[in-house]
């Protein structure tokens, strides 16, 4: 009998596997997708590149919201705090002579620091209290930004300093930066889920008291995810600014970002690694198609999100993955009956 090092053999004839053929193929496919995407600016025009940057930003946002809600059980309605902070942080730094793309990276790091600073406050709250508590924080920080006339007050402000590049070059750089952030953030999330923290996070989501009683250090695990999510949302906000070059306090700190994130994650599949990516792609397509329909579009988004939460809680990916046991990325554990071992019988 061959024993592969990724399997741990138990006495009952079942093996625990972390990866499968599908996940090995899937992981390779993801690497291939990243390679293909990175050559995109050389092939397509500036408009397509800008759209694809938007898609990458949505992927980042959905994955970061899912890390909170799907794994740590923290439903946030206030991640726009970090989106806005990342964007305005970039403006703040460029006004002080920092190169724009460096400012994007630094502003994302500053958003992580903000998340760390806020965590003792908001991580006290659970469930609905956490949801509204984070929302209040977003509103408070938005009001503080409006008070600062150097940041354009409530009227909005443009990102200067990127006009040294031609539009084609600028959009290519922004796209590559977004791709780099997406890879790094999803990579960090993957490592977090793959390690012991992944199991701890899901335990917290399912029952925080029970997890704590089994020795899970709930606060420190939640802290790590909250900071990662703050970092990712800050990066997304800074990239939104680099992609559109203009932001307004009301829209960058708007609660509609939370609505979009919830929609993407619910439709894609909450609590799965792949679901939010699918959700982001679907949302991107829907946005292209219906964004001009105004209020009806948002009524539709809300209605679909409710329907998924109630009737398809595992989303589109859950529908596909559950039936076929497909995992593109090996973050979970799977039980397999050891083949060719008739000597072992099932005993309780």
């Amino acid at each position: 009998m061959t024993t592969v090092d990724t399997r741990s053999v138990t006495a009952t004839g079942w093996t625990v596997r972390r990866s499968s053929r599908a996940s090995r193929i899937g992981s390779l496919a993801l690497v291939a997708i990243v390679v293909v995407l990175s050559s995109l600016p050389q092939v397509f025009g500036a408009n397509v590149v800008q759209q694809m940057t938007t898609l990458l930003i949505l992927v980042i946002l959905a994955s970061m919201w899912n890390a909170l809600a799907g794994y740590a059980g923290l439903v946030s309605v206030g991640q726009q705090t970090f989106i806005g902070f990342g964007a305005y942080g970039t403006i703040f730094l460029t006004q002080r002579g920092v190169a724009p793309y460096l400012a994007v990276v630094l502003a994302a790091a500053a958003s992580a620091a903000l998340a760390a600073a806020l965590s003792p406050l908001v991580l006290r709250l659970r469930g609905g209290q956490f949801a509204v508590g984070t929302w209040v924080v977003a509103e408070a920080i938005a009001l503080l930004v409006v008070l600062d006339h150097g940041l354009g007050g409530g009227t909005g402000i443009s990102l200067r300093g990127l006009n040294i590049y031609s539009p084609q070059v600028r959009r290519a750089y922004t796209f590559w930066l977004a791709l780099a952030f997406a890879v790094v953030l999803l990579g960090l999330l993957f490592l977090l889920l793959r390690r012991r923290t992944g199991a701890a996070l899901q335990a917290i989501r399912d029952d925080e008291e029970a997890a704590a009683s089994l020795g899970v250090r709930t606060m420190s695990v939640k802290f790590v995810v909250f900071v990662l999510s703050g970092f990712g949302c800050g990066a997304a906000g800074a990239l939104i600014l680099a992609n559109t070059l203009f932001i307004q306090t009301q829209s960058i700190f708007g609660v509609q970002w939370s609505a979009y994130m919830i929609f993407m994650v619910l439709v894609g599949g909450i609590g799965t690694f792949e679901g939010p990516i699918i959700g982001a792609v679907l949302f991107f397509a829907i946005q292209q198609q219906f964004a001009d329909s105004g209020a009806w579009y948002l009524i539709g988004l809300g209605g679909v999100a409710i329907a998924f939460a109630l009737f398809l809680p595992r989303g589109v990916w859950g529908l596909l993955g559950d039936r076929r046991q497909i995992r593109v990325l090996p973050v979970g554990y799977h039980l397999h009956r050891r083949p060719s071992n008739p000597a072992v019988t099932e005993e309780a």
Binding site: L147, A305, L310
Partner: protein, 296 residues
Amino acid sequence: MSVVNAIVQGILLGGLYALFACGLSLMFGVMRIINLAHGDIAVLGAFGVWVVTTQLGISPLVALLIALPVMLALGYGLQVTLLARSLKAGELTPLLTTFGLAIVIQNALLQIFSPDVRSLGAATGRLSIGSWRIADRLAVPYLGILVLVLAVAVLGGLQLMLARTRFGREMRATAQDPDTAGLVGVPAPAVYAQATAIAVGTATLAGVFLGIHASFAPSSGPTQLIFAFEAVVIGGLGSLWGTLVGGIVLGIAQTLGALIDPQYSILAGHIVFLVVLASPRGQLLWRRRAAGSVAA
């Protein structure tokens, strides 16, 4: 004197916030869910009264008598359809569905009524603008007193109902342990539906008085939800009289903030909320999370 005036206005404003908050507090106390559509439901109620007022040409206070039963029924229906399913689906699902509902209500109102800001003040007449002039720079508006009295009456009524009546006992029993309550003949779904109906009814009252006191638009809901939530947390979760105190503290913070600069008004409220959250009291909130305190 202007500081005294700001505090008086803050207390009166606090009555309105307490009215917004008590439904939120009740639903959290009984079902452990925070209804993220609470503010939008209040605005929906205000639009309902606005339609009745303009169609029939009657006072908003009379129109309220027509709209209130409709909203109570709507609340009952909301629980039976959406929330009951959400509660079954998991701990976090009610948050997701009520947030979805908030978006649907807000945009449906936007589609029907346009983003225009409306007020019920003019239709209410003298009540909405009159006041007792006590001193040179101190006036007490009739409406503020009415709202504060109403808030005390609603909160006191709820408190009495929870403490003294059979229905209140059933509600407390269900809040503590729905399964055991079910065993002794108190069906949780019915209690939940009644609690939601009451919560939607009080939200409607609050929405209408917001419309008389100031103005409202389809996008007003989230702000009212946030104020209500702040009032609940400042006053201490799970206590109705605490909610009144919380509303008043929030109201005073806002009017005092506005005294420095109108821009600081809402920010001052947020800061008081965050300070309370950071204080030992906020710590208590976190520690007591599993204790299962009841709304009474």
